[in-house]
């Protein structure tokens, strides 16, 4: 073992000791320790990887980013995983990719329509607007919280070029119908898979059905790198364009700190630049800098080892909540998996029935007072949000269910950090609430 390796091992031992001292086996004190709706779940391996990457002091994407991208691509069984600095950036990169002039007539052009929903997170819709495209909103089903398939069909016009939908909070949208429409009308499909890592539809992972899909590694998500995200595709042309948009829009695909990996750095002609202009500084897109650091990727590598366990734990927590809360089905609408799917739930969604005799805020205030965190289904109805009031858009029918979600829906957590004691405590508090009303 080299001197450097010995020092690293000593540091790793100390990191492990610190993990055990500070983070391991933290007690749950009912009513005092909050039950979070989501959170990071990790052990000493994430911390050791993080320290290992920091000791390399390479800082930008390096060996861990390489490994993380390769393993993510392998997990999905696709050619490319492109790490970015957030799930929202992944959405922006995915949609921007489809506007590339490299796609010739297939590219999305300003004014083209993209079908989506208003009951979700803003960064699914924002890239549509940022790229001067027109979002077309359809309503969602209560229970699955996904787009109503009949309305997607109804929304298609001669201007429709793409569908961009999230698998709402882990629950896959109806991929049979969506894929059928994509093929029939020659549309692009982007799956916002940020909240659904590990979910399957007909036994196949969500995120592998569309031309592009996205993942988020924010701490609230299925696995984390702190900040971070990823674009997934099995199309190498789209992957190269996505990398270009991520890396300032440059044409060159060299990794940070590398030169001339294509072997043609000074022997190509682009635009009206002189022949042989340094390829490293040739820009084929109006791009961004959304790269990830190696420290983030190092955490991701350790998290990926736990992903299957995370998914199982989420499903188990969901099942326990469902089993007990179904007795309140006359007042609560409980979540239902889309037919043919096996969701890796982000959370446990609940909608208060309109004749329940209490409001959402009555229940969420009670839960919050008892240390059980709740969240609304993000935007509620996005087009009622101040930033989206005046956007160019088309709305298919009324978004009645979306409005119901805005008023009556909330969720609680199922993340792996929630153990049986916490689930039991939460259920006890639900019972108390219903005893009181």
């Amino acid at each position: 073992m080299s001197e450097e390796e010995k020092i690293r091992q000593e540091i790793f031992q100390l990191v492990k000791k610190l993990y055990e001292l500070k983070f391991k086996n933290r007690d749950f004190i009912p009513g005092k320790t909050p039950i979070r709706y989501a959170g990071r779940y990790f052990d000493e391996n994430e911390m050791i990887n993080l320290v290992d990457a920091s000791l390399d002091f390479w800082l930008t994407a390096g060996r861990y980013a390489e490994e993380f991208e390769s393993r993510l691509a392998e997990y999905f069984g696709v050619s490319d995983a492109i790490l970015v600095n957030s799930g929202s950036s992944a959405n922006l990169i995915a949609l921007s990719t489809l506007t590339s002039p490299k796609l010739s007539e297939r590219r999305l052009k300003p004014g083209d329509e993209v079908i989506t929903v208003a009951a979700g997170f803003p960064s699914t819709v924002a890239p549509i607007i940022q790229n001067n495209l027109i979002p077309v909103f359809v309503d969602v089903n209560i229970g699955t919280y996904n787009a109503i398939p009949g309305q997607i069909k109804e929304a298609i016009s001669p201007k429709t070029r793409a569908i961009f939908l999230a698998h709402t909070l882990g629950n896959p949208f109806d991929l049979d119908i969506v894929i059928d429409l994509v093929k029939k009308h020659n549309l692009w499909l982007i799956e916002d898979n940020c909240d659904a890592l590990g979910s399957t539809y007909r036994g196949k992972l969500t995120g592998t059905f569309g031309h592009l899909s996205t993942i988020s590694f924010y701490p609230a998500h299925h696995m984390t790198t702190g900040e971070g995200g990823c674009v997934i595709t099995n199309d190498e042309e789209l992957a190269r364009i996505a990398r270009s948009f991520r890396d300032w829009g440059r044409d060159c695909y060299c990794a940070p700190g590398e030169n001339n990996t294509c072997g043609k750095r000074f022997s190509q002609k682009f635009g009206t630049l002189p022949y042989g202009y340094d390829h490293k500084y040739v820009y084929s897109h109006i791009g961004y800098n959304f790269k990830i650091t190696d420290m983030q990727a190092a955490i991701g590598v350790a998290q990926l080892d736990k992903l299957n366990w995370f998914d199982q734990k989420r499903k188990n927590n969901f099942d326990k909540l469902y089993e007990c809360l179904k007795s309140f089905g006359d007042r609560l609408i409980l979540p239902e998996a889309t037919p043919n799917s096996n969701p890796s739930w982000f959370c446990f969604l609940i909608t208060i029935r309109e004749n329940a005799g209490f409001s959402r805020n009555d229940l969420t205030s009670f839960l919050e007072q008892n240390g059980i965190e709740t969240r609304n289904l993000f935007c509620g109805n996005l087009i009622r949000q101040p930033a989206f009031l005046n956007i160019k858009k088309r709305v298919v029918r009324e978004l009645k269910n979306t409005d119901l979600i805005m008023n009556n829906t909330f969720f609680i957590g199922v993340y792996p950090g929630i153990d049986n004691y916490q689930i039991e405590y939460a259920l006890k508090k639900f019972n108390e609430f219903f005893d009181r009303i």
Binding site: W58, A65, E66, E69, A73, D80, T261, G263, S267
Partner: protein, 242 residues
């Protein structure tokens, strides 16, 4: 193109073909990333430390099929200081660093008809493809035009023989500039590889995909002539490096 990955590899075997051409057969010491026939890699002689920049390296076509990836093979000729170091300093058992995969000089998965044109060690990406075609029992119509300076520069003879025996739609012509001796090939000609000759036999046809690999001057002149003869640019693939 998937993320290129850096892996250490051990030199398992070195084969010397001529006074200035060798091949390295290298065993990856970490999982070898997925690559496609026709792609290339970077090889570094000096140690790679992830805390610092990737050391000086050169690009080489991967001269084996991804279906045979337990080892990675490259073929190189001495052309400068780096390849001279490779030729003189590297011995069996040494460790080198590889970074792969790169490049879009890859072969179609569909049943396109292919004209492969190789000058000298430019045969290497086609070796990857021919091994792949053998392993997949490809039915693609393949014409290989291969030109070398003199007989000792003919490499992978056994593989070419095997392709002739096994691949029903494989056609092959060998051109030797300086000499001619008896080989097991049906079509061995004396003289340089000529694009006129190639186009006379594989006349421009929308069905054909033309792949050119070899010295830069050969690639440039062949491509120009092909474009002048009306072959569409998208039907011409070149393996071009600086």
């Amino acid at each position: 193109m998937p993320t290129p990955v850096k892996i250490p590899a051990k030199i398992e075997k070195i084969v010397q073909y001529t006074r200035d051409v060798k091949s390295f057969i290298m065993k990856p010491l970490k999982t070898c990333p997925v690559f496609k026939p026709g792609q290339f890699l970077h090889l570094a002689i000096d140690e790679y430390d992830p805390s610092f920049h990737w050391p000086e390296s050169r690009v080489f076509s991967i001269a084996n099929s991804p279906t045979r990836n337990e080892n990675i093979r490259i073929v190189f000729a001495v052309k400068g200081i780096f390849t001279k170091r490779m030729f003189d300093e590297i011995t069996e058992g040494n460790k080198v660093w590889l970074k792969l995969p790169y490049g879009n000089f890859t072969f179609p998965e569909n049943d396109s008809e292919l004209v492969l044109i190789a000058g000298g060690t430019g045969i290497t990406p086609f070796i990857s493809y021919l091994e792949y075609a053998l392993d997949k029992r490809s039915k693609n119509k393949i014409y290989l035009w291969y030109g070398v300076r003199s007989p000792e520069y003919i490499i992978f003879r056994n593989l070419l023989n095997q392709c002739q025996l096994i691949l029903r739609n494989f056609h092959f012509r060998l051109f030797i500039e300086n000499n001619i001796i008896k080989y097991n090939f049906d079509n061995v000609y004396k003289g340089p590889l000529s694009i006129e000759n190639i186009l006379h036999n594989n006349s421009p046809n929308a069905q054909w995909l033309y792949y050119i690999s070899g010295p830069p001057q050969m690639i440039k002149s062949f491509k120009e002539i092909m474009l002048n003869r009306g072959i569409k640019e998208e039907n011409i693939r070149i393996d071009e490096w600086e």
